[in-house]
Amino acid sequence: MSKVRVLVGTRKGAFILTSDGKRKDWKVDGPHFAGWEMYHLKGSTADPNRLYASQTSSWFGQIIQRSDDGGKTWFQPGTPPGETTGPGGMPKGESNKFVYDSANAPLTTHQWYDGTQHPWEFKRVWHLEPSLSDPDTVYAGVEDAALFRSTDGGKSWHELSGLRGHGTGPNWQPGAGGMCLHTIILDPKDPKRIFIAISAAGAFRTDDGGKTWKPINRGLYSQYIPDPKAEVGHCVHHIAMNASRPGVLFMQKHWDVMRSDDAGENWHEVSGNLPTDFGFVIDVHAHEPETIYVVPIKSDGEHFVAEGKLRVYRSRTGGNEWEALTNGLPQSNCYVNILRDAMAVDSLDSCGIYFGTTGGQVYCSADAGDTWSPIVRDLPAVLSVEVQTIA
């Protein structure tokens, strides 16, 4: 029987939640890496027991953790357990090391909050995206914005510097959370095509495996930047895609929910009747590519749900027409946020939807959003939620 494994990153550790296909009874395992900020954990689709995790701290910097047994045990891939010296004196501890490739893309500057130029400085890994075919290949989206790749199971990391070296770099700027590359989408039908998104630069696409990148922000309109229709500078919060239709993308921008039907070449707004179109998460039903989910947040100044009500909104028409999903969610005195990587869907026949809140709740709907129940209520603030459907 199928089961699901939910990987939860929080401000103070990681948790692994498992259940069978009914998704009623849950086992909660954790905290792993207690006390550390766990920005993201994600499993490989090629080998579901291979998990990668971003462990980070303002004190101690960036650590990459890997599990080869579905999260039971973890190790730093640059330094396997019990191994303190490498063969031939090879340097170890390399999996912690994210160094910009200044040989191929000089370390330029980006725009700081006050409009002055500021040097690129590595801070942390926001998102890990394992290859769809090779468990040892994984991409990392980092702050300050850049894309790295490991092809040796996370032991060493190398920047795909064409992105950071894009000529528009001096116009990129940090959002409130920092200048982070937070979204990485691998095209299942074209291994050379990758979509990424940066706050606040916008969305970019490569069609040559990461050598060159193109901004794909036409149609975005952002009143908070000097030129609302600029090529870059938009605060894209998250992008989602259904694997069966790689050319169709859905975006939650700072404000506005957007849609593209041509791989990001053109976007149009599908906010429709949403009560507010500010938000962070967006996701697509596993089997119905026109069914999408968002959680509207009151405003950019008030990062919590509106009216004290936690409402997921679902559109079955690819946007514009939205319905509030509230059954099982608190409808009074609720003031949580749902951060950009904190929603996921499973691929069971009855599609499960999951999201985590800054209040530490992780909710599950086993019926595509019609009804909800909390898996856990009192974790640290949730930064990310991913789910694996395991046969």
Partner: protein, 102 residues
């Protein structure tokens, strides 16, 4: 100068990463300085590389400090000799995380 075992106290999170329960002891060849001691820490516990000093610049991470013999050595040159009590193993070098919380 061949020093005796150097004692180093790591902050709890780094102890967890290094899989050690208490203070660590290290051999350091040559002058006993912040740099040589942290080099020895990283050689014995490579999973800590980048957690005490920046990978690229080699500078102390800003939220960490070095103390020994009730002195704050955080702003001393990394190549200054550490106190004799540290070099002889009588006192530990303390690597301390900045206080978090109120």
């Amino acid at each position: 100068m061949k020093a005796g075992p150097i004692r180093v106290v790591l902050p709890p999170h780094l102890r967890a990463l290094a899989h050690v329960d208490s203070e660590i002891q290290l051999e350091v060849n040559g002058p006993v300085t912040i740099r040589s001691v942290v080099d020895a820490v990283e050689a014995s516990y490579p999973m800590l590389r980048g957690t005490i000093r920046d990978h690229v610049t080699g500078e102390r991470r800003p939220f960490l400090r070095f103390f020994a013999c009730s002195e704050d050595l955080s702003h001393e040159s990394a190549d200054s000799p550490l106190p004799e009590a540290v070099a002889s193993g009588v006192e530990p070098l303390l690597i301390v995380g900045a206080i978090a919380g109120g």
